[in-house]
Subunit: 225 residues, 2 copies
């Protein structure tokens, strides 16, 4: 735990890595009490530091939350990217993996997810934040492009639209049913199943895959591997 200074629980006058410690504190507190319940003073206490110390690293409470959200989007993008895996083993399966990764993130990284989507941050005022958020969405966007490219051109929808549909469906399911805090509604099936079924039906509607049959490897027509 290099971020905690000496690592033996004690520390001297200097903390060693207060910035990181404050972010960890924020994650911990947001997870427990939500983004609204998180306070600057609490974070300082959690890090074992005076209440004035955080001002050396963050302009104010919002700046800290924004930094958490930015990191969250970066991590989110990484996870989605990893799940997409350049469309391997096959774009449709890979896209499903992206959906699962989306829900898994909302469940497992509740604190990040809250900071990203529920803290009421303004993306317009923070280019870094916006950029990180865009990078997350770009994964969905690119994946949609690959899927769209496989459709016969007369049925091909705009890839942007498809990615927005996928994003909205995943986000809706995550927000309503797959939050990690258990505070949401019960569901008669796993959120992942719900998302997968919905997306499958959607793709059938596009004519991307045969009706009532999940696609098998469709013989690689024109993938830009």
């Amino acid at each position: 735990m290099s971020w905690a200074g000496r690592g033996d629980g004690r520390r001297g006058y200097h903390h060693g890595n207060l910035r990181e410690a404050l972010i960890k504190a924020a994650l911990d507190l947001i997870e427990k009490k939500g983004p609204a319940g998180f306070t600057f003073a609490d974070a300082a206490r959690w890090a074992g530091v005076s209440s004035a110390a955080p001002y050396r690293h963050f302009r104010d409470r919002d700046a800290l939350i924004a930094d958490v959200a930015r990191r969250g989007f970066d991590l989110f993008a990484d996870r989605l990217e990893h799940a997409w895996n350049d469309g391997r083993p096959e774009p449709f399966t890979a896209f499903e993996n992206v959906g699962r990764a989306y829900l898994a993130f909302a469940r497992e990284e509740l604190a990040y997810y809250s900071a990203m989507f529920e803290a009421g941050l303004s993306f317009d005022d923070d280019p870094g934040l916006r950029q990180a958020a865009d990078r997350s969405f770009a994964v969905l966007r690119r994946a949609s492009e690959v899927l769209c490219a496989r459709l016969p051109s007369d049925k091909r929808p705009p890839a942007l639209m498809m990615s927005l549909h996928a994003w909205a469906l995943a986000h809706g399911i995550a927000s309503l049913f797959a939050r990690g805090d258990g505070g949401r509604r019960r569901l008669p099936m796993a959120p992942e199943e719900l998302l997968e079924a919905g997306f499958l039906i959607y793709l059938q509607g596009l004519g991307a895959i045969a009706q009532n049959a999940p696609p098998e490897q469709p013989a690689e027509p024109s993938s830009p591997s």
Copy 2:
């Protein structure tokens, strides 16, 4: 304005209808500052009353917000119900109207919407709240049943699943793009169009309607009018 007492701006020792005034205050304040920024003291001030007065009507701040959310769900259910209009003029069109009503509610009744979905209320502890929320969802559920009943039985999906898909898609689009506070992302099309297109593709995927053609009156096969 019978809720404000004499209606001439002045009032005597008694307010007249403080309970309603506090709820109006909550809506106003939530709209301006979000559910997190809303305080009991603020509501009292807004209503022109001492900070102790609200305790005559609500146990605490959360009880007030819960009441706002409950009313919101009631109103929401009414709006969805009205849009569905018993499946007239035709179930598919009526379902689209429900979707539009969903997005319109999120945009126009931002304060209610926030209290309902973003205040972190626990539905388990408040039967009245849960019931009102269930009534909203029931509209989607019933509409889905009617739509499902029109499908050939070999293609008929569980109506519950379909309603969950519709709910999640609408909620995702509303949360990401159609919030009334302008704090969300830009979109190259109207949220309503995005939702409608998504749902259309979904229904095509179910085989409910012809591919690449919006449905015309499908000759009333077996509708329980």
